[in-house]
């Protein structure tokens, strides 16, 4: 039974990640070995084998998984009913995403009707910011900083990578089981639970620092002042994690002081000569997008 559990975990890694091992057929070898030693489990795995081997997380699957993440977030808080604002954030975000190594993902941006201060990336390029975050932006360059940080998570495939990391193998073990059994309703349900887990636990702290460092590069590439992101983190630093509008962002990110320290080291002497734009004033964008 233990062997089966281990196998399920290994299988799931393959289901989700399509790692090099899948191509190398190592999983198949393991299956064959185990099958000869086990009875029932081997039989189930035999049926699952083609499904597992052909279902790595390619871009299409990443987008499909991301849609479940997005639907969960939208189930918690709906979109803000403001077409001009949604158009503006989508246009600005798409310009930023166009500067990355994944310019052709179906990048889509949503403003959640929520007073809290937060932003989320989901696999495949669906990015969210809350109304409460937007209300606290001093200028366009700050909003660019936030969006670029989230875009960086997707460009660096942080969610996809997390799915094959150790911390998620228990969740994924069950997930692979259901997928293997062809139980799609169960598979979807587990995907929903997985997205809830990842959204509430947050990504690896190292991934957050990486998204900060890559985010400022994306902002600079797009012609913006790259210091918008550190300015937002500085705002966060003056807030309390006890404030319910900020608790989730504090729980799922390294401390603002540590992030500023890391960004300062990364940016000093390299970004100071970049004379990026602060962007246009929001009241001008209002005219532009209300037409």
């Amino acid at each position: 039974m233990r062997t089966f559990q281990k196998l399920a975990i290994a299988g799931l890694t393959l289901v989700l990640c399509g790692s090099a091992i899948a191509q190398g057929g190592l999983f198949g070898q393991i299956l064959d070995t185990v099958k000869s030693k086990t009875g029932v489990a081997g039989d189930i795995l035999d049926k699952a084998k083609p499904i597992i081997e052909n279902s790595g997380i390619d871009e299409a699957k990443e987008i499909e998984i991301g849609n479940e993440f997005a639907a969960v977030l939208l189930g918690a808080k709906p979109l803000l009913n403001d077409p001009a604002l949604q158009r503006y954030v989508n246009t600005l975000g798409r310009w930023l995403a166009s500067q990355t190594e994944r310019p052709d993902l179906p990048w889509t941006f949503g403003v959640l009707n929520d007073d809290g201060f937060n932003a989320f990336a989901t696999p495949g390029g669906k990015i969210f910011v809350t109304k409460g975050l937007l209300a606290r932006m001093r200028n366009e360059a700050e909003l660019v900083g936030v969006l670029s940080h989230e875009i960086a998570h997707v460009v660096l495939k942080h969610h996809v990578n997390a799915m094959q990391s150790k911390a998620w193998t228990d969740v994924l073990g069950n997930f692979a089981g259901s997928y293997a059994k062809g139980n799609l309703a169960e598979y979807k349900g587990m995907l929903v639970n997985l997205s809830k887990d990842m959204l509430t636990k947050g990504l690896d702290k190292g991934d957050e620092y990486a998204a900060d460092r890559v985010g400022v590069v994306i902002a600079a590439r797009a012609g913006f002042d790259p210091y918008g992101l550190p300015a937002v983190i500085q705002t966060l630093q003056s807030q309390s994690g006890q404030d319910s509008n900020f608790s989730l962002v504090f729980e799922t990110h390294p401390s603002p002081a540590d992030r500023l320290d890391s960004l300062d080291k990364a940016m000093r002497n390299h970004f100071e000569s970049i004379n990026g734009s602060q962007g246009r004033p929001f009241n001008e964008r209002f005219k532009e997008f209300s037409r």
């Binding site: 997005a70 709906p78 949604q86 990048w107 962007g279």
Partner: protein, 173 residues
Amino acid sequence: MKLPILIAAVMLAGNALAESATTSKSTELMDKASADASIIGTLANQTRVDVMQRNGAWTQVKTSSGQAGWVRMTALRLDASTNSNAAPASSGNVLGSLMTSGRTSNTGTVGTGVKGLDKEDIRRASPNYSELQKMQANAVSKDSARAFAQRSPLVASNVDYSNQDKAGKREGN
């Protein structure tokens, strides 16, 4: 008697928008937002200043004695603001400016006492696929985004990720 009260009220409203900060280390006060600018003073650690504006890595501040200049933004810690619900913005808050419907006030601030999205909200959520479709309909093409950049104008440039790994070297100038 009425006029001074009105003026006082306006001044208070103006002050409410200002941000203050405290230096987190001893730092040089420069006359411009640049490491090559002239040093016009030194602020001791824990000096309280008013924040005027930010430009790149630099923040313009004004001391209690009225001296203005620029310090590195990383030398400052913003003071916890009493009204943290909306950032001061000289040219309008994004919500105040952009919200065209569903708005409950003209201030662009966010109501206090309403709990922001938390873990419990996410755990309890049922996936909302119709809302997802609405969101997907808002997607913008790469071409539209490029047109937006052109009229802004925003100029894309090549900045390498590895740029940041060349530690200790100063670029340009």
